[in-house]
Amino acid sequence: MAQPLVKKDDDRDDEAEYSPFLGIEKGAVLQEARVFNDPQLDPRRCSQVITKLLYLLNQGETFTKVEATEVFFAVTKLFQSRDIGLRRMVYLMIKELSPSADEVIIVTSSLMKDMNSKTDMYRANAIRVLCRITDGTLLTQIERYLKQAIVDKNPVVASAALVSGIHLLQTNPEIVKRWSNEVQEAVQSRAALVQFHALGLLHQIRQNDRLAVSKLVTSLTRGTVRSPLAQCLLIRYTSQVIRESATSTQTGDRPFYDFLEGCLRHKAEMVIFEAARAITELNGMNKDESFEEILKIRKTKFGPSMPNIKA
């Protein structure tokens, strides 16, 4: 086998197995994490150690309960640094460690401070971290901040709160349902993905109320949909309404069918595909027939920019 050419650049080993994490070992990195306790924090160094810890976890390494607790407590010290980059890594680390309820208390006030920070990236991410690690009690404490965040001007903040709401609806539905008004307002947002996230959350909040869902769909099919993703959601909800409609007369459902057919002329491919699928499924085609039908529609509509389908 031929030797690889020696690279001229001295910094580059021509070692095929080169990796900045070569020889990395959990125990050694956990030792390194002690720098988090230094009164004079070096943000770059700390970020590097966190990256190593995340690398280990990503590779399938596990922490014992004791190790996880130690790392968590050490990481909480890093809130003292105002370095933005380090704070982002701290957020990632906290989410990976999944702290227990009594550990969560340690970081709650720091995270709540970040949630009200002037720096929007802190706010959005602190919201996501808090909502990931919260329980019902903490959630009621931060509820009003989340409701404000949902209608925040900054779309990153709003989306963070809305997506967190979608997750929290699974565990604390009675709390999230109280945010209906704010979520309704967010559906009117001009920011593309805020509407998408708000629509997703609002639909789930109202899912048991067929009439409410039907009204939601009707108002939006007449309104402005600001992203292909939101349009896809709307197509799914429209199909659901058609399927579940009590009268199931053609006339009653006509506007909904019209909407679906109109989507076949949308400029975004994902919308056309979603609509084609919805229509074929509503026509009672089974999955294979539906697939054939969609292939036909795709062939006529799309060119080589479509991903190739491999069976």
């Binding site: 963070a160 997703g200 993703l229 799914r236 994902m270 979603e274």
Partner: protein, 179 residues
Amino acid sequence: MARDLCPSVKNILLLDSEGKRVAVKYYSDDWPTNSSKLAFEKSVFTKTLKSNARVEAEISMFENNIVIYKFVQDLHFFVTGGEEENELILATVLQGFFDAVALLLRSNVDKREALENLDLILLCLDEIVDGGIILETDASIIAGKVATHSMDADAPLSEQTITQAWATAREHLTRTLLS
């Protein structure tokens, strides 16, 4: 039940040319143990190895999941969704991830560069999908949210320079991909 109507990503995988992990993120309970994850990764990697996913993204089905994938240099990008998912939505997620990584690594998209900048890759993943729900698909916005962490919050001018740098990087990347 309504949860299923929201487009959902099951995992995003960044593997090297031997199928080993560079960065992976799972958002589903379908693979509860690390060994089940590794088995899935091996299966997906092996079955897609011979494909021509360097020019454009390709799609395949595995174990009742849709997998969209794209390769560049020694990196293999994968996005997985359920079999009922809209594959074009998954393709958009893949493209967003792929292009954002290209922007962040300034078009040096290879394994070494990715590992040297693993923090950026992990932050990038964090800004694309949250618990399976799509947060953002636009690569420049994704990269922007990641890069702000290395910027001084009081220096708006640097934002301008970075935007320009990205525009150049993106142009270069487009040219490379089209050649």
